[in-house]
């Protein structure tokens, strides 16, 4: 059986209620930080959620995965509310899958993170002889569906309409495992922490060198640092002398934390330089911005001595692996 998947990165420019109402100020403020970066493409413990999803699909027997930037949600399809631009891209992707002879099509959105086993959903779909199976968590739809592509063959291009008509007849797959909706920055932080604590199946890309201390290839940590697990330090990242990294913090690849800085309960995005003798607490930091999770506010950092972008460090480009010498790491428990 040939299985294909269409993975949509973002919803079309309308909300789930199917109206053109703009986001209210609160929602806009919450999305301010992460709206500036394409979330699914961000590294999260060493690998983007997009790559993780694609890997999972591959492991479940999916031969081709088409990634599109924008497309309709299933709720929008059910209500026949899809903006023409988003719909056209999605239509093209479906048409291509059908043309290529895909028999079963997985439609999903890179929004929420789940530990969902696609093989299990596909098995359920087959057992029920369903035309459309939609995945639900206890708090609602996960925007993941499996469609019998044969039902779309005679759609003659009207895929949205055909699929919309199938939704009322759907089979429901109820999933009660780990779900993180990733709706606000706090959710991303919670996901990194949950993963480091083993509360979900997401695993850091690297090796566990101490109790809950994960290191990516070529990570360098000065012997004077205090590292208290659970902590993730990504590939090619360098932690300078006298730094303290604690509280379930995750520092992604190719970052540099300079002398004497403390990183606590924070997520530092890839290729970020954090200057010397600073305190980063309960925050998400990119190379230009910092979002404080308690204060729910974001600041732009204009001083490159404080925070800026790094470039990939030379030693990772040279392919050095697992750069830390064990006895150089001080792990406080």
């Amino acid at each position: 059986m040939q299985i294909g998947a269409i993975l949509t990165l973002a919803a079309s420019n309308s909300n789930e209620s199917g109206t053109h109402e703009s986001l209210n100020d609160g929602a806009r403020k919450r999305r301010q930080f992460l709206s500036n970066v394409p979330n699914p493409k961000l590294d999260l413990l060493g690998k983007s959620l997009l790559d993780r999803t694609a890997d999972k699909l591959r492991q479940s027997g999916v031969k081709t995965t088409t990634v599109i930037a924008e497309g309709p949600t299933l709720t929008q399809l059910a209500r026949s509310f899809v903006s023409s631009d988003a719909g056209a891209t999605w239509d093209r992707a479906v048409a291509e899958s059908v043309r290529e002879g895909v028999q079963t099509l997985i439609l999903l959105r890179a929004g929420a993170y789940t530990d969902l086993d696609f093989e299990e959903v596909l098995r359920f779909h087959g057992e029920q002889s369903a035309t459309l199976t939609q995945v639900y968590a206890p708090d609602g739809s996960l925007d993941i569906a499996v469609v019998d592509a044969r039902s779309l063959r005679n759609a003659d291009g009207a895929y949205r309409k055909t699929l919309g008509a199938l939704i009322p007849k759907q089979e429901r797959f109820l999933y009660d495992g780990y779900v993180n909706r990733l709706r606000k920055p706090q959710d991303f932080r919670r996901l990194t922490e949950d993963a480091l604590c083993g509360k979900c199946r997401l695993r850091p890309a690297g090796s566990e060198v101490g109790d809950g201390v994960w290191l990516g290839a070529g990570a360098q940590i000065d012997e004077s640092c205090v590292i208290e697990g659970p902590v993730y330090i990504g590939a090619g990242t360098r932690i300078g002398a006298g730094c303290t990294i604690i509280g379930g913090s995750a520092i992604e690849r190719d970052c540099e934390i300079d002398f004497g800085t403390t990183v606590e309960q924070s997520w530092i995005l890839q290729q970020t330089y954090i200057g010397l003798s600073l305190t980063v607490r309960h925050s998400i930091v990119s190379n230009q911005k910092m979002f404080h999770l308690d204060r729910k506010a974001e600041i732009a950092i204009t001083d490159s001595s404080l925070i800026r972008a790094t470039k990939s460090l030379a030693f990772t480009q040279q392919g050095h692996q697992g750069g830390i010498v064990k006895n150089k790491l001080q792990i406080a428990s």
Binding site: L278, T279, I299, S305
Partner: protein, 130 residues
Amino acid sequence: MNTQSAIMIKLPEVFGGKEARKLGRELKTRMSTASPHVVVDFSRVRQMNMAGLDGLLDCMETVAKNDGAIQLGEISPEASIFLELTRMDQLFSKFPVFDASAGCTAEQELMGEIEDLGTEKVGQPQPVAA
């Protein structure tokens, strides 16, 4: 009666080197009493940088040399993030707490008009955030 004088300074939305230098100049001209108490209100600040912070440190030095104290007044979330990041919040907390209950008569308050910096006339000293 033992009363205290206070200078309440409301910083602008963007507080950089230029604004800090202006603050320093104004402070020097307006510190007429010994042991001045300066309350810096960050409630409007949305953006700061290191030059602004350096300037603020210079002001603290000036005030300290006159046996006075600088304290934080109201503080916006953005300013508070910046001060925590740079550990300046710890420095501010070292200064003795301004005793609002000691009273502050209108005559003894310095009601400067540092227009660009938004210095405010203060009827009562405001609670100081640690």
